[in-house]
Point group: C2
Chain length 332, copies 2
DNA sequence: TTGTATGCGTTATCAT
DNA sequence: ATGATAACGCATACAA
């Protein structure tokens, strides 16, 4: 095929060992020699074969970015893609490739073959079979996003605290009837959000309102469920907390179509601060966290783990902060 | 380290060659033997080493998904991520990994090493240095998304035709003053959209209005530019065509803040049919194309090219269709 | 249908 | 500082 390290060595009148050392920057090779070799590499257009390198060094230099959820649930969601950005940055610095895996089929392939050095697992739910396979395997894994167990290191937003802050804010604006629009209970995130909601309500001596459980973190589903909510009962609350901006978008659309004005008739607060939140009408008040940092942190943790570190902190929680916009009205 | 093909062979009382054949499903292995081997593999938890396999077979089984744009420009954009879904599906079926590359640094690494068998190049612009590197390299490459040159196979939406259809639709609704909000001219897409706009206007004997060139395909930039447009001159057109839904979102927000009602005072039509288009207020009329199919097509083309096929069709154009929603009003 | 032996391109060990 | 050479784990051409 192409041109090998052997060819470079021959052209430079040195051994393959020297070339290898020069490339990897390992000590034990003269400055002059190094320069000569680099020059020849450029001239000949030599491109190291990563398979061979991987075989010899017993590393793949690949990190798996995997989510058992449907591709679009993750890929189409700025919440995750923003995290990916952070990950991408530290992976690059450490010479790792990012292998995306969003289908069941590929994930099986990943678990059944030596193709990655470690895995960053996203949007996992407790009934995901991949979770048990990963536990059995010896593949270093970090779970990114809401998680409750202690078996894997985990970095995630403080869902519970975030929702509590949202409720707290609503209360400070005079609201007492506060309802939660949540995702499916199978998601760790939903359970944590529910927890935060209930605790916060209790802390303010308020009765938890009915909770709407949308089967997916999706605007369309949320829209449908909220329309049903409007039709089923007329006693709407004065405010709604959503465990995701996407859920909020659906609620806003449903409300709008039924002549329910936001925030005049109904206050609403989102969760996640997706870019689009500033482009709804009215703009959406929501909870924000540093996703980029969350991404870099998780990647760094994984790399540490791959390198044998024992990760003193198994869990990293990212605080959520309020972003005040137009969707919440002060109750007189 | 782990357990190798040799160990499996020993346990099964066969040769490594037989095990190898059994795994890859190559002909020449008895049914019984195959079953025995598969069982032992499962029992022992043997995981083939992909580096070794790649080295021996001279393939990496990796496909690079690369874009010279900032990570979020691509990742945060449903337009691209929807395409990724399609790609992901056919890559899986063909046992390929998807390596994402959204930073300059990693792309250099990709070009300077044998790490992928082929590349799917996104959102490229003519001044991207990667383009010339790729031309010099022998890496099979397909360009996905708007492109004008003939040097690489290319699959993309029919930007020019799409914009023309949008203008045509506006005209059919009685509009004569139609303005284009476009992306930066450095993007192939913008140039094609401009082309479609000018042709369509001419075809209807209409004067091309002033064109707003937003320096990035971004809602915030679009918002800022349209506010300036409103302040600079008072003669707003009756309708606006945007070359991206995101651009449209910015325009809608700016209009809304200035008391310009959509569609009563100003009709607007987007481009791309991003999921969020159905959640704006009013919902956005826009141009749609089958992104999933676009993705599968490009992946299939790349695989064909990798396998030595000579791709009879160098260019694949995807038709764009109108999705009628609420942002365009009929002029009496 | 199955086994033997060699090569894939690098890294790493041990010399020098 | 540099060289010779043995792994690394698998696929495959050739034999049997």
């Amino acid at each position: 095929m192409g041109i090998r390290i052997k060819d470079v060595a021959k052209a430079a009148n040195v051994s393959t060992a020297t070339v290898s050392r020069a490339i990897s920057g390992k000590p034990g090779v003269g400055v002059e020699t190094t320069e000569k070799i680099k020059k020849i590499i450029a001239e000949m257009g030599y491109r190291p074969n990563m398979s061979a390198r991987g075989l010899a060094s017993q590393q793949t230099h690949n990190i798996g970015i995997v989510s058992p959820r449907e591709g679009n649930t993750v890929l189409g969601n700025p919440f995750f893609t923003r995290i990916f950005e952070g990950i991408s940055n530290v992976l690059d610095k450490n010479q790792y490739n990012m292998i995306s895996s969003f289908t069941y089929q590929h994930q099986q392939y990943l678990v059944e073959n030596h193709v990655v050095d470690g895995i960053l697992l996203f949007a996992v739910r407790e009934d995901d079979s991949l979770l048990v396979q990963l536990r059995e395997s010896r593949i270093p894994t970090i779970i990114v996003g809401s998680y409750e167990e202690e078996d894997f290191p985990n970095v995630c937003p403080d869902d519970s605290g975030g929702i509590a802050s949202a409720v707290q804010y609503l209360v400070s604006k005079g609201h007492k009837e506060i309802e939660l629009v949540n995702g499916p209970k199978t998601a760790f995130k939903s359970r944590l959000c529910l927890e935060g909601y209930e605790q916060a309500m209790k802390a303010h001596s308020l009765d938890p309102h009915s909770i709407i459980e949308v089967p997916e973190y999706d605007s369309v589903a949320s829209y449908n469920h909220f329309i049903q909510r409007i039709n089923d009962a007329s006693n709407l609350p004065t405010a709604i907390v959503c465990s995701s901006d996407y859920l909020a978008f659906g609620v806003m659309k449903a409300a709008n179509e039924h002549g329910i004005r936001i925030p005049e008739d109904l206050s609403i607060i989102g969760f996640g601060d997706v870019p689009f939140s500033s482009f709804t009408n009215p703009t959406l008040t929501t909870m924000h966290t540093n996703l980029l940092k969350l991404g870099t942190t998780s990647a760094q943790m994984l790399i540490s783990k791959i390198n044998g570190s024992n990760l003193r902190k198994k869990k990293r929680l990212f605080q959520m902060d309020l972003v005040e916009r137009q969707s919440v009205k002060e109750l007189k």
